[in-house]
């Protein structure tokens, strides 16, 4: 077997795919086991601290508030984004009216908006939720507008010929046709909501995963900081995974259609 043939063989690839991460993890475990570096404690200690902190000790007091802010903020952003996006997509003059404002607010990093709204609305949790929803609104809003405007005019004509009611046309033609883009926007919104949830907590909150992690860093609780980082990493990964799975199922028809078009 030639070198190229060997390096492309399936059993080798599979071994690499599973073996390398496992090896890396094992290396981290053993290399850091006797670490005296203050910034990079042993993996074993991190794992212990992780279990101690998050598994049920701080679950209710910190994980729940963070994740509920995130989920509720994301949900509000999605609903508002689709509703507003549909309206703006179907009524171009409205889109032109609000366009520059949307573009400007979107251009400001969300975390910079937080102090403004805190100044206006105070320090409550609602302000944080509002910022998460506001920041996450834009990706789904803009992709909904694009998706609605991109609806095939022929499909719209067909729905008129067959005398669909306005609601039927909206739901069965426009929204369904825009759903690939809407879901893409939602994925980005998901990531934005997660990021803003963390940053808003780090900026100044008493509870929450982000808050705890930064506070741990500031008070040199290195293990606590690492435990927080690991948790955030795992949550970020899981949240993405769940949504991607959901999106793939909802858009199964689209993937098939694209594949068929590509092979033509």
């Amino acid at each position: 077997m030639s070198v190229r043939g060997f390096t492309n063989s399936r059993p080798l690839l599979l071994t690499l795919e599973i073996g390398v991460p496992v090896t890396l993890l094992a290396w981290w475990w053993f290399a850091s086991a006797s670490s005296t570096n203050p910034f990079f404690p042993s993996l074993q200690k991190i794992v212990t601290e992780f279990g101690k902190l998050w598994l049920f000790d701080h679950f209710l007091s910190d994980i729940v508030p963070s994740m509920s802010n995130f989920v509720i903020g994301f949900a509000i952003a999605c609903v508002a984004g689709v509703l507003l996006g549909t309206l703006l997509g179907l009524v171009p003059p409205l889109n032109w009216l609000l366009g520059p404002i949307i573009q400007f607010i979107r251009a400001v990093p969300a975390v910079a908006l937080l102090p403004i709204f805190i100044a206006m609305l105070g320090f409550g949790n609602e302000v944080r939720l509002f910022i998460i929803a506001l920041a996450a609104l834009f990706p789904v809003l803009i992709s909904t507008i694009d998706g609605i405007r991109g609806t095939d005019a022929l499909l719209v004509d067909m729905s008129k010929v067959y005398r669909f009611s306005r609601i039927e046309r909206l739901w069965f033609v426009y929204l369904r046709s825009a759903s690939p883009q809407i879901f893409s926007g939602m994925l980005v919104s998901l990531q934005v909501a997660f990021i803003v949830m963390i940053t808003s907590e780090m900026l100044g909150a008493a509870r929450g995963i982000g808050a705890m992690t930064l506070m741990a860093q500031k008070s040199f609780d290195i293990l606590g900081m690492w435990a927080g980082i690991v948790l955030l990493g795992i949550l970020g990964y899981l949240v993405n995974l769940l949504f991607s799975m959901f999106r793939r199922r909802a858009l199964a028809w689209h993937l098939g259609a694209q594949r068929a078009q590509a092979s033509n």
């Binding site: 390398v20 910034f39 990093p109 975390v111 805190i118 100044a119 930064l214």
Partner: protein, 260 residues
């Protein structure tokens, strides 16, 4: 309304929208109990003009843009190299898939505490955060572009006696450039966000820390003016990266393929 062509109506309505917002804002500032909570349009406008004449503010703007740009460039180099490796070698791709797939959805903000700890409130911290924030998407798109390279073009080049490196440079990379271009354009605004976050939360130099300072000392008028400056910067960055992409890839625009 039907009398006006869209090319006139669209910018007109846009301006009307902005005016309406400013009016709403001004009205809102008179309704709020404490003057500082929502400063009037006039107050913010004045502060904006004053601040734009302040060399310290311009220094901060320069630092912000500088770190963002440097990080963007560094991430581009690292990302493209990584992406090429993943795209060309099945073995490398398999070996790194687990790690990269796990790291990619994790936002860079997550490691801010660690980076702050190790590097302190410095430019390097900001740079590191920026690179971390955009390198993986660039790598992923580069890999996709390399994998999508036309095998016919590759075989043709090989039949002409081109070496692997030459094929990479002359055939594969140009073919992958739309993907790379899109990834770089999408990454540009993210770099700005990361610098501001690094400034606000970590004290890295730039507008982020100015903003943080203004908030802590209660100078809300300055705070608002900095946010406006940031918004303008954001728009400039977006416009510049879009134009740059179009300029470099004008010959390839018809090949643009954006995945779902």
């Amino acid at each position: 309304m039907k009398r006006f062509p869209a090319s006139v109506l669209q910018p007109l309505l846009g301006v009307v929208g902005i005016i309406l917002l400013l009016v709403l804002w001004q009205w809102g500032s008179t309704q709020v109990s404490t003057e500082r909570a929502l400063p009037s349009v006039v107050a913010v406008g004045t502060a904006l003009i004053i601040n734009l004449q302040n060399p310290a503010v311009w220094l901060a703007i320069g630092q912000t843009l500088g770190i963002a740009l440097a990080g963007w460039a560094a991430a581009a180099v690292i990302g493209v190299v990584l992406g090429i490796a993943v795209g060309t070698s099945r073995a490398f791709s398999a070996a790194t898939r687990g790690l990269l797939d796990f790291l990619r959805p994790i936002p860079a903000i997550v490691i801010l505490p660690l980076v702050l700890l190790v590097l302190g409130p410095t430019t390097e911290m900001g740079l590191f955060l920026v690179v971390f924030g955009v390198v993986l998407p660039i790598a992923a798109q580069t890999a996709a572009g390399v994998e999508a390279a036309d095998p016919v073009a590759r075989s043709t080049a090989r039949s002409f006696g081109m070496g692997t490196l030459e094929i990479l440079w002359r055939v594969v990379l140009p073919g992958a450039s739309p993907y790379i271009g899109t990834a770089m354009r999408v990454a540009a605004p993210v770099t700005l966000v990361m610098v501001v976050v690094a400034g606000m939360l970590g004290g890295a130099p730039g507008l982020g820390s100015l903003l943080s300072l203004a908030q802590m000392t209660g100078r809300y008028v300055d705070l608002f003016s900095y946010v406006v400056i940031l918004g303008i910067l954001g728009l400039i960055v977006q416009a510049a990266s879009t134009r740059a992409e179009r300029a470099v890839l004008h010959w390839h625009t018809s090949y643009r393929q954006e995945g779902i």
